[in-house]
């Protein structure tokens, strides 16, 4: 593997990301899957880095899942997205930052459609006005939230309390990076590093001291891929996709997985448990699993945030092996307590897989 070859390619896939004044839109599903991630993003960008970040509670789903499963027609989707843009416009902002990868892909697709077919844009503007009396400006800058963290990765590294380094051995943690398919596979030039060798997460890992693993099935879908999962009969295919990835990455002995999509951490995390219990196989060392994180969670750990505030207790795969390697202090007693100290309940212990 020639890393300089990758670096040469990365030069071709640079992307402009706004410096400040972000209009942030949350994902439909991430707050359920990994509830601390979006909160961590706002804290990092707003409090930690001192940037202006705004939200609007009136914003809705972008309809991405409905669109990709052929439930919502494209015209409807575009009109809903046009309404989101109108919220940004009304807030006096122009830098649009979606939390969700599917939303990011959809916004990119719609903006490209409007660029190439201006009459469609006119029609959507008319639809929106008739339905809501709203008008909108298109974003001056559209960046996924992981692009924003990537942009400020060195600033985060400068404030780091912990690095992606095993404090006991000094070895960089081996990290599998997995981008969501809709981040750059549809529009490679809209993603940092392109589609074949994406750099958005790899750049964070490098900046925070870790080592990126390049394994053969790194391009493969995590197993979410809507039709594989949403159609119940296809779920065997979904789990097979995840299994293919785990088997491919296992020989490289990764310490952790980092992702930037709502579905990827969910499926890489949950299916790992399912495969383990069904097949009696563990992809991590000593009968354990490979911890899976969102990039906000990793950034939060690097900045010294409390792992339970980041919501890491909501993961199926225990995160403690990575916390121990990074030297993160945590109170095991607080793991299953809510923010007000209430007991949240403890998950059942797996039959085959080993927990901490």
């Amino acid at each position: 593997m020639k890393v300089e070859g990758k670096r040469r390619l990365w030069q071709d896939y640079q992307k402009e990301v706004a410096e400040d004044k972000f209009f942030y839109v949350r994902s439909c599903i991430r707050q359920t899957f990994f509830p601390g991630s979006e909160r961590a993003f706002i804290k990092i960008i707003g409090t930690e880095l001192g940037k202006e970040i705004n939200e609007d509670p009136a914003h809705t789903s972008c309809t991405g899942i409905g669109y990709h499963t052929d439930i919502v027609p494209f015209e409807t989707t575009q009109t809903v997205v046009a309404r989101q843009f109108s919220l940004m416009t009304e807030a006096g902002l122009e830098n649009y930052v979606p939390s969700c990868i599917t939303s990011f892909g959809l916004y990119t697709e719609i903006l490209e459609t409007w660029e190439h077919f201006p009459l469609i844009e006119e029609q959507i503007r008319e639809n929106l006005y008739k339905a809501t009396q709203r008008t909108f400006n298109k974003p001056k800058n559209l960046a996924h939230a992981s692009d924003v963290i990537f942009k400020f990765r060195h600033e985060i590294a400068a404030k780091a309390k912990h690095k992606l380094i095993d404090v006991h051995t000094g070895r960089p943690l081996r990290v599998v990076e997995h981008i969501g398919c809709h981040y750059s596979k549809m529009f490679p030039h809209k993603g940092i590093g392109g589609a074949e060798y994406p750099y958005v997460l790899a750049g964070m890992v490098e900046a925070w001291g870790g080592e990126v693993i390049d394994y053969p099935e790194r391009r493969h879908c995590c197993g979410f891929g809507f039709r594989q999962y949403l159609v119940q009969a296809n779920r065997g295919y979904s789990i097979a996709c995840s299994q293919k990835k785990f088997e491919s990455m296992q020989p490289y002995e990764p310490d952790m997985i980092i992702t930037n999509c709502p579905g990827c951490p969910m499926f890489l995390d949950r299916w790992q448990y399912v495969i383990g219990e069904m097949e009696k196989v563990a992809y991590g060392p000593n009968g354990q699993m490979i911890p899976v994180f969102t990039y906000e969670e990793v950034a939060g750990l690097v900045l010294g945030y409390d792992p339970w505030e980041l919501g890491l207790q909501m993961h199926q795969v225990n995160c403690e092996p990575v916390l121990d390697k990074m030297g993160v202090q945590y109170d095991p007693e607080l793991k299953y307590k809510g923010s007000k100290g209430e007991f949240l309940g403890v998950p059942a212990i797996p039959e085959f897989l080993k927990c901490c």
Binding site: M1, K2, G5, L9, E196, Y197, P216, R218
Partner: protein, 344 residues
């Protein structure tokens, strides 16, 4: 007959052959070439299809036939060509400008930059090489992997940078199919125990004896041809390359590990020629090669009076086609000179 001066841009085989024919007819010739030695791409090749002849034989024959009166300006970059008082003034990085009655663009292709097919990992994976590199490996008796071992399995990927909308090259580069067959046979001759797999879309064996060579590759050497375009390549931990494709004859996806993956790179108009072509406002086709005045009737003339084309600057060609095209261009130039003389 009035002695005229022709400036030939390119010292590859088309430039050499055109120079020979024009010089024999008594015209003064200057060959401009960016390289140190004449011969272009053929000089960098070892064996030729379909008869496994040494390329150096062709080149030596062409060079030996070249009259001594020809001016050769090697290591010379042309900056501009201007029309002045019925002549063409060739400005180069040399001190003196050259005045010519006609200009011949002779040849001028680059092999496709395989890094643009990112999914194949050229320049990233250690054991992904181009057909040019394989030719040199075999010539230099270095048919080994990056780790120094003899390859047990080799995949040859056809149409890299050709017939590919993704890289904006819809055309066929014509010589890559038969080159793959030739190189696959050379691999088997060098290392009989090595398994060779050719991944192709169509096998375009258009030339004389090409089909026979293809049959020989299968029947005598056991080379396997799989109809299917590669979807992606990855590097395994042991540095072998994992290739994924669909065998479209069997209708099944296919995945295999190979020790070496060879990319059969196609042709594109030389990047070095592009600024000159633009400055002279020569017409180019949607394949970005130079358009002649008429593809059927006047394949060596351009819309610019006194500017002619030969060889691969008008599209991919093999050696016999290139040499014939050069001769044809020389005849067109002589005919143009006759017209000029008749006018005067």
């Amino acid at each position: 007959m009035l002695k005229r001066h022709v400036a030939i841009i390119g010292g590859g085989i088309s430039g050499l052959e055109a120079a020979r024919v024009l010089s024999k007819s008594g015209h003064e010739i200057t060959i401009f070439d960016a390289g140190e030695k004449l011969g272009g791409h053929v000089a960098q090749w070892d064996l030729l299809f379909p008869n496994m002849r040494k390329s150096s034989e062709i080149l030596t024959a062409l060079l030996n036939q070249l009259p001594k009166s020809i001016h050769i300006l090697s290591k010379t970059t042309i900056k501009n060509i201007e029309r002045f008082n019925g002549y063409y003034v060739i400005h180069s990085d040399r001190v003196e400008n050259v005045l010519a009655d006609a200009v011949l663009f002779a040849g001028g292709f680059d092999t496709f930059d395989a890094q643009r097919k990112e999914e194949y990992g050229y320049g990233i994976y250690d054991n992904v090489i181009t057909s040019i590199e394989l030719e040199n490996k075999i010539k230099d008796h270095r048919f080994i992997t990056a780790q120094g071992t003899k390859p047990k399995r080799v995949a040859m990927i056809h149409c890299v940078g050709s017939r590919d909308e993704k890289v904006c090259n819809n055309y066929c580069s014509r010589v890559c199919c038969v080159t793959a067959v030739k190189q696959a046979i050379e691999i088997k001759k060098t290392s009989p125990e090595t398994e060779v797999f050719c991944f192709y879309m169509d096998l375009r064996m258009f030339g004389r004896h090409f089909e026979e060579l293809y049959r020989e590759a299968q029947e005598k050497y056991g080379i396997q041809f799989i109809r299917g375009r590669l979807s992606e390549a990855s590097e395994a931990q042991d540095k072998t390359i994992i290739v994924k494709a669909e065998d479209t004859l069997l209708g099944k996806p296919l995945k295999m590990n190979v020790d070496l993956m060879v990319l059969m790179v196609g042709m594109e108009l030389s990047k070095a020629l592009v600024p000159l072509v633009e400055k002279m406002q020569l017409e180019v086709g949607d394949d970005r090669f130079i358009m002649p005045l008429d593809e059927q009737l006047y394949p060596n003339q351009t819309k610019k009076e006194g500017v002619f084309v030969a060889g691969t600057c008008t599209g991919p060609k093999n050696i016999p086609e290139t040499l014939n095209d050069a001769r044809s261009a020389a005849v067109s130039i002589m005919s143009y000179f006759d017209q000029l003389s008749n006018k005067n």
